[in-house]
Symmetry: C2
Subunit: 226 residues, 2 copies
């Protein structure tokens, strides 16, 4: 179904490509929830059934979008002199790609394509972490730790980005904390002031990822000595 292998009969009003492009545009503009088959048809000046003809389904349409977007993740190559900075460069690149397609993670999540999506970066990470001297299960844990950290970070970022009006914002909450002097445990006013400031996501990512990677690639075993 959907196209087959024969040639086009009449000159089509829309093509599968046009539908996919318009859908991409809609998703990028209004999010996944903003993609409706009727809106799509209206934007293309076409009846809804034509959409259904070219891409069979809303699910299938999203599937296709995800497949296309995921291919943008293949070109991740590390850079830097030592393994630590190379792993960090991979993490930074992965975050950048994920941030550039904010709806990608959600889509991939709904479609259950997460493993396939992250295989390329997983492979690159594995190579660098092997080069750093880790092997076997230790290396696998390090790979996954970095992956989870980066993906999770972007997910949190996306969450905070998507809610423009925070009822009691973190800033307000911590400024209230500053007002009431020392009844709770907020003794360090500099800390409270810093927590009242908005998050510098770039810097935070650099710091936390750097700390994680350095600790993971350190020679000492991951068990703590009290």
């Amino acid at each position: 179904m959907t196209q087959g292998t024969a040639k086009a009969a009449r000159t089509p009003a829309v093509s599968r490509r046009a539908v996919l492009d318009a859908a991409t545009r809609l998703v990028e503009a209004q999010g996944v929830a903003g993609l409706s088959m009727r809106k799509l048809a209206a934007e293309l000046g076409v009846a809804v059934t034509s959409i259904y003809w070219h891409v069979g389904n809303r699910e299938a349409l999203l599937d296709e979008l995800v497949q296309e977007m995921v291919h943008g993740l293949d070109a991740l190559s590390p850079s830097g002199p030592d393994p630590t900075t190379r792993v960090l460069s991979l993490a930074v690149g992965l975050r950048r790609v994920l941030r550039d397609h904010p709806h990608l993670i959600g889509l991939v999540n709904e479609r259950g394509l997460t493993p396939a999506m992250f295989l390329p970066s997983e492979r690159a990470l594995a190579a660098e972490i092997t080069a750093a001297g880790l092997t076997g299960a230790r290396a696998a844990e390090a790979v996954r730790a970095v992956q989870y950290h980066v993906i999770g970070f972007v997910l949190v970022e996306r969450h905070t980005d998507r809610s423009p009006e925070q009822r009691p914002s973190a800033e307000e909450l911590w400024q209230a904390e500053l007002a009431a002097p020392p009844p709770a445990g907020a003794a360090d006013s500099a800390l409270a002031r810093a927590l009242a400031a908005p998050v510098d996501a770039d810097r935070l990512f650099e710091i936390s990822t750097g700390a994680l990677v350095r600790a993971l690639l350190a020679p000492s075993p991951p068990a703590r000595e009290t």
Copy 2:
């Protein structure tokens, strides 16, 4: 609107509490998307408008649910002898609570209540990190790094949990990697085998969080010296 302060006239068919409880049940069972006002009304044996009378809105209803659930996050207390293990215990507790309410994060996210939700844990983390010797901006960065890490980890976990059928599972992908010997960079077969195994989330969380916290609380400054 919605109740006011007067006494009940006739014996009401449903109460605000009953609506909230039924809604909680529905959300826990079928997720946020599974909560529809009509389903809710049907389950309570009542017309839709009654739902609207007691809780004004779907948004308001979800708001209320979130408020109730968030209060379950207040009781997080650290345990352990040294700051590192105490911070780790906070991280573990936060992850446990979040995992126990899988829909909580999504709800809170949609409602923009994330800062309020995580203020208690933020406060506890700040206290422990201060006790570890960090101050001011450094301490704030550490607090947020741990927070982002834990929340992100749970988000990733939730994502992987919610998709039961992964088209090409990570296991299959890495086993295919094992079959083709050394054309790509997958030299370490033990690593590939480890990556082909399913993720042990508990262990991974312990390892990655431990590494992160230990690196963050280490005396050396977070800037890397190339």
